[in-house]
């Protein structure tokens, strides 16, 4: 269900997730675009392992991007005012991840919704978590 105004938001509601693209092609393109394309950390599993990593990684801020995109899919009129993400452990490229968000506060007077955010790997381990404050039309 797409949210058009803050009156549509229910406390405790879960946002519809989508399946983010964590392929090497996507992590590589993202890393190149933000200027982090040097080395193999986000681009090549073998090179990343030579750096002592378990494999090529999804950039932490790309997880922030997945979560922001989920918010915009939930409500195309939403304005993300703040988003705070904690990088608990790495997400590996080429491995599916599950993103989720739940409404933890609705302030109709201020027009602000607070969300708790989580990114888990396929073993259901939390890799990234955080919060967002989102402004919605009244």
């Amino acid at each position: 269900m797409s949210i058009g105004s803050i009156a549509d938001v229910e406390f405790g509601a879960e946002l519809d997730p989508f399946q983010p693209d964590t392929s090497i092609a996507a992590t590589s393109a993202f890393a190149e675009a933000v200027g982090w394309g040097g080395g193999g950390r986000f681009k090549d599993h073998e090179l990343a392992r030579k750096e002592g990593l378990p494999g090529a990684l999804v950039p932490g801020i790309m997880a922030m991007g997945f979560l922001t995109s989920m918010i915009h899919r939930w409500s195309p009129d939403a304005e993300v005012e703040t988003i705070d993400t904690v990088f608990r452990a790495p997400l590996l490229a080429d491995e599916p991840c599950l993103i989720s968000a739940v409404v933890t506060d609705v302030d109709e007077q201020q027009g602000i919704v607070q969300l708790d955010l989580t990114v888990k790997n396929q073993k259901n381990e939390t890799r990234v978590f955080g919060t967002a404050n989102v402004r919605l039309p009244g």
């Binding site: 983010p20 693209d21 991007g65 915009h72 705070d84």
Partner: protein
């Protein structure tokens, strides 16, 4: 030697230690949005009249130096503990931007594996008119080395 958080705060908090000028490439901004799964054209299509950088791109601008040059080393390996972005006004591509960075907070947390020191560096991003458009916080975590 145990790190004295209050002493570090008194010496380093709120002093600008880095200043950078940027001009965002619209194509790169759009790639970041699309690779993140963004569906709104104001983030993914440079031709959109309200085209702007998504929070993840703003967070990437804070890469580089997170600490003052004379900040002491604690011995542990610094880790990226996370990022936070506050959007104040749309951040436009193709326009001059200036980022000014200071240490915003220093705190510690203790757990089974010892004490962790958290350093929050904050980049305040300004447009060409000197108006603040966003802030980007970078949390660095350092495990205190046992003495």
């Amino acid at each position: 030697m145990k790190v004295d958080i209050d002493e570090l705060k008194s010496r380093f908090l709120n002093l600008e230690f880095d200043k950078k000028d940027f001009e965002l490439d619209p194509e790169k901004v759009a790639i970041v949005a699309r690779m993140s799964g963004e569906t709104l054209p104001q983030f993914s299509d440079p031709a959109h009249p309200d085209f702007q950088a998504p929070p993840a791109f703003i967070a990437s601008l804070a890469a580089g130096r997170h600490l003052p040059i004379n900040f002491p080393e604690f011995g542990g390996i610094p880790m990226d503990g996370g990022k936070a972005v506050t959007c104040i006004k749309p951040v436009r591509a193709g326009r001059p931007l200036t980022g000014k960075t200071h240490l915003h907070d220093i705190y510690d947390k203790s757990g089974r594996s010892g004490r962790m020191i958290f350093l929050v560096s904050r980049m305040e991003l300004f447009d060409e008119n000197g108006e603040q458009v966003a802030t980007s916080d970078s949390r660095t975590v350092i495990r205190e080395r046992a003495s």
